[in-house]
Symmetry: C2
Subunit: 346 residues, 2 copies
């Protein structure tokens, strides 16, 4: 009796299976399977009986078991930095739409910019046997994915390149975008331009810094070390860095901000200033046009990044397994809204 109790209690909801449906409808197991999957070769009368049993029992096919049998899960994984970051929302959504168009479900997780957590998450997704993986890298060594890729998990990296392995990659043109943004400031008369960005170990940050230096060099302008601040994205440090380069012996008249979080903080700092300072930021953000002045930005298209990556992924899944890994770069767009066109003061 104790055993019986445990038997029925073992899991809270003991869901009906095809076997239960078959028993109730008085048919064979396989017939239920056929009905559930809309296969042909079932008499209308039989089908009706099965349907009734399904309704009555509240049966729903167990896709876990199905997956085990079929080998494909019709799901893909997305590892990103932080879903709460407004840059990744549209990206994630774009990936989801492409997945949906291919009948696949999206499972996503945030790495919180922690390489270990990225790995943990990516491997957990592989253990779930996702068919493919879209990764926004937090770390710079992805050799841990090699066995998975070899085993057939299609993998595409987005926003930042893969580290130490060959794989499809979809990037924005960070170098070109930053160079254009800085050149824009130069074209408006600025000669002393500051750069505030993230740590150069992050590929995007390094590329943007390179773009900054290239634009300065192209214009024959020297860069004072005091104008460049790296590894600073949290508000406090950005504030300190901005104030420092604005008050030194050779103060900058314009700032190029390496990403949207930096830009927003710099806007706050500049708002407290009496003299006007020009600003161009990398990444667009909502309401940039409503500020006074509107914030000029180098915009990347997050949705396009996601869409391109996902499409590449499904192309691989649909048979193009042996195509060589490719690196796709998407153009950025300079949007002038006022802050980048402020002339140098003094």
């Amino acid at each position: 009796m104790a055993e019986t109790a445990r038997g029925t209690e073992s899991r809270y909801g003991n869901r009906p299976t095809m076997k239960d449906v078959a028993a109730r409808a008085g048919v064979g197991l396989k017939t239920v399977s056929r009905v559930v999957n809309g296969e042909s070769g079932v008499t209308p009368d039989t089908e009706r009986r099965v349907q009734e049993a399904i309704e009555a029992l509240g049966f729903r096919r167990n896709d876990s078991a199905r997956v085990l049998r079929k080998g494909r899960t019709a799901s893909i994984g997305l590892v990103l930095e932080d879903l709460a970051d407004p840059f990744y929302g549209p990206l994630s959504r774009a990936v989801e739409e492409v997945a949906r168009a291919h009948g696949a479900l999206l499972i996503n997780g945030s790495s919180a910019e922690d390489p270990d957590r990225e790995q943990e998450l990516a491997l957990a997704l592989c253990a779930r046997r996702v068919d493919g993986l879209v990764v926004i890298p937090a770390g710079d060594d992805h050799r841990y994915l090699e066995p998975e890729i070899k085993a057939g998990v299609a993998t595409v990296f987005v926003d930042r390149p893969a580290g130490r392995i060959e794989a499809d990659t979809v990037l924005s043109d960070n170098f070109g975008g930053a160079r254009d943004g800085v050149a824009h400031l130069i074209a408006h008369g600025h000669r002393r331009i500051g750069f505030i960005g993230d740590q150069p170990r992050i590929h995007t940050a390094a590329e943007r810094l390179r773009g900054y230096r290239a634009a300065m060099e192209d214009a024959g302008l020297a860069v004072d070390d005091a104008w460049v601040s790296l590894g600073t994205t949290d508000a406090g440090r950005v504030r300190t860095a901005a104030e420092a380069m604005l008050t030194g012996p050779d103060p900058v008249t314009a700032i190029f901000a390496g990403n949207n979080r930096v830009t927003v903080t710099v806007v706050r700092v500049l708002a407290g200033l009496s003299r006007p300072v020009a600003l161009v930021g990398f990444d667009d953000f909502e309401l940039a046009d409503l500020l006074q002045p509107g914030v000029s930005v180098v915009a990347q298209d997050a949705a396009a990044l996601g869409r391109t990556a996902a499409e590449r992924l499904f192309r691989r899944l649909d048979g193009a397994q042996d195509v060589a890994p490719e690196r796709i770069e998407l153009a950025t767009r300079l949007i002038a809204r006022g802050s980048g066109e402020v002339p140098p003061a003094g």
Copy 2:
């Protein structure tokens, strides 16, 4: 020979299984299982041999099969409206963090505000046998989830209540928040206050409208129908509605905006005006403090909504199945930044 080829080719990457590992290590299948799961009762020497075989073959446990055997998937589903909406990013992230703390993976999908798609998505997640479901409803009839809930899928609704079924629900105090926001405008001298919100069939929109009316009534103020615009969230219509109520024979001196998208558009309209108009919006948004004037808002805590819902979910999963469904309301917070404290003109 053709058969052999098909046998090995059938799926692109034929991943090694525990059986393969066992064969290579010269041990039994179950021993591999023990090593993989860190169970006790394996000689260090045996364990080493198994580990080597795992390395060599690039084995990774198939969680699909594991799930089938164990009955629990250690994953929960989240159905939300649109991941690209900045309100849902933090909410989703909060749910994810709670799930992670419970060792579960989050699978999420967007309903795109389409009831059919919400249902399709929720049922797909149930077919994957998620242990629980967090739903931000798009539709207003959730009876389709009854069999699932009965079968043991813990379900919590967030942001909007479930339709036609009993279930746990976590909401913001939309009524109280809107009432407070409007009362704030009244306290600053406004008598003619407009309301622009979404369709009242959406619960949150209806509650906020109710709050608006309550505040007006509490102050003994009549509401002119021309001051109330419903079912308008797209920029064009909001613009038209705002302009209409600002230019009528009895123009409003203040506007209460029913959600963040509306607020932003109204800010744009007001920016083009010469005379000052007061504004309070429901929902906070980034940079609201940087605008001129700063935008006063009734803020709801998206992360807290997600966290509360997820915690409730796991409490159910951890044994509290038979607790009666509950409705939890989280307080909102009025943040004064300037736009809501503008005195009435004229």
